[in-house]
């Protein structure tokens, strides 16, 4: 029965495919490849979630969270172009810590969840938090690292005038935080009217009432913001030894 529904749904692809066949056959090929990749990726993710929900063990969910943080860290470092060997652990630990702290707070304190550590709640919430922290982590880490390079004189000036290392990096932490928060500030003000959050749609499709969906969306968006700031702080703190030598000079 489900296969029939999938087949009927897939028939809708005939509309864009037909249009492309008529107007742009070259793009049709790319379209086909993209659809194939999308189906494969979503299927893979769904299978992973199915396993997690099926076994529903806390340790399996946490192991999955560790792997997710590590994989996300690889993606961050590829974008920022920093060596995996030196920065994988700091970035993965930052993503993991931000998601874990905020995720557990949401699950145990904020949301009316009976089985807080159950995979059905834990997995999507943690995935959402890690995903958001990953995107903001790219902005934060790249800003921090490139600002230190471009403005090394300011760091040296502060150090030379007796400021501790921790205080001398604060102007650069500020810039990283600006880079993390600015897109969020710009996006939050249009969330709902100009941009329909997929999150809200997902919760509605999951059977929640509109009010519950609103509250859940709100809490999860706030959680994403908190998680991204915690992740950034941990990432920058743990990356410090890789960025500076023992004389306080940028490597």
């Amino acid at each position: 029965m489900m296969i029939l529904h999938v087949f009927l749904g897939a028939l809708l692809l005939a509309i864009p495919a037909g249009a492309l066949y008529y107007f742009d056959k070259a793009l049709l090929r790319s379209f086909g490849v993209a659809v194939g990749r999308m189906v494969t990726q979503i299927l893979l993710v769904s299978l992973i979630v199915w396993v997690l929900v099926h076994y529903d063990k806390v340790w399996i969910s946490l192991l999955w969270l560790v792997l997710l943080a590590a994989l996300s860290a690889v993606l961050v470092l590829r974008r920022v172009k920093l060596p995996l060997s030196k920065f994988l652990l700091p970035v993965a630990a930052g993503l993991f810590a931000g998601a874990l702290v905020v995720g557990l707070y949401l699950l145990f304190v904020v949301l009316p969840v009976h089985d807080a550590l159950g995979a059905r709640w834990l997995v999507p919430i943690m995935a959402l938090l890690v995903g958001h922290s990953m995107t903001t982590g790219i902005l934060g880490l790249s800003t921090y690292q490139s600002a230190l390079k471009a403005d090394e004189q300011q760091y040296e000036f502060l150090r030379g005038n007796g400021t501790s290392h921790l205080k001398a990096v604060l102007p650069f932490v500020r810039r990283a935080l600006q880079a993390v928060m600015s897109p969020s500030v710009a996006n939050l003000s249009v969330l709902g009217f100009y941009a329909m959050p997929l999150l809200l749609c997902g919760i509605l499709l999951g059977g929640q009432s509109p009010i519950n969906a609103f509250v859940l969306t709100l809490m999860l968006v706030i959680g994403c913001l908190a998680s991204s700031v915690i992740s950034l702080a941990v990432i920058l703190w743990l990356s410090d030894r890789q960025l500076f030598d023992k004389f306080g000079k940028l490597r």
Partner: protein, 200 residues
């Protein structure tokens, strides 16, 4: 008082300066001079603890300068680095980047591109002087003043005003050590140390 005694400075296996010996005394304006590449900046950066002393020693008020002691000594120092004109963000912190609402906020996971921060625009001579003045006057009772080419980007008039300020610091009993090739500063120093370009 600052002392270099037969100091050799090296980093990453490359010797930057050898056999440096001199004393910069309290209440005096000491000027390191010499052609470009002679090691003036290297010397000052070593004194700040940013570069290691390979052999010989450097002392501050009789205490040995090491990697561990350098941060403590720096609390006694006022430092004007060579590229002071690049400290625009010290005078005016940068604003947050302006962002348009787009796809990588909170409702999906499109990955943004990495950001590449640009160097700040150079300061004008007036702003350089303002920053140097703020730094020197805000030093309080710090006993050592170190300035690397402090007049390099100043007008002749501002250079004279800077010299007056440096002289005031020395007259207040501080150790003032500068690196400069400006004749105005070299000519008014109590002690001039001339470095030569190290032959390969």
């Amino acid at each position: 008082m600052l002392e270099f005694k037969d100091a050799t400075i090296a980093t990453e296996g490359k010797i930057l300066a050898t056999g440096l010996s001199f004393i910069a005394r309290d209440g005096e304006l000491t000027c390191i001079t010499g052609p470009e590449g002679s090691g003036k900046t290297t010397l000052l950066r070593t004194l700040m603890g940013f570069l290691p002393v390979e052999s010989g020693f450097v002392s501050v008020d009789g205490e040995l300068l090491t990697v561990l002691s350098a941060p403590v000594f720096r609390t006694l120092m006022v430092y004007l680095p060579q590229q002071v004109q690049m400290l625009a963000h010290q005078l005016t912190p940068p604003d947050a980047p302006s962002c348009e609402a787009d796809g990588y906020a909170v409702w999906n996971a499109l990955m943004p591109q990495a950001v590449k921060a640009e160097a700040p625009p150079p300061l004008s001579p007036e702003d350089i002087f303002r920053l140097e003045e703020q730094t020197l006057l805000g030093a309080g009772d710090k006993s050592i003043v170190i300035a690397d080419e402090p007049a390099a980007n100043l007008t002749p008039e501002l250079s004279r005003q800077l010299l007056v300020m440096l002289r005031q610091q020395a007259d207040a009993g501080k150790t003032v050590l500068i690196a400069s090739r400006r004749q105005l500063l070299v000519g008014h120093a109590d002690q001039v140390i001339e470095l030569k370009v190290k032959s390969e």
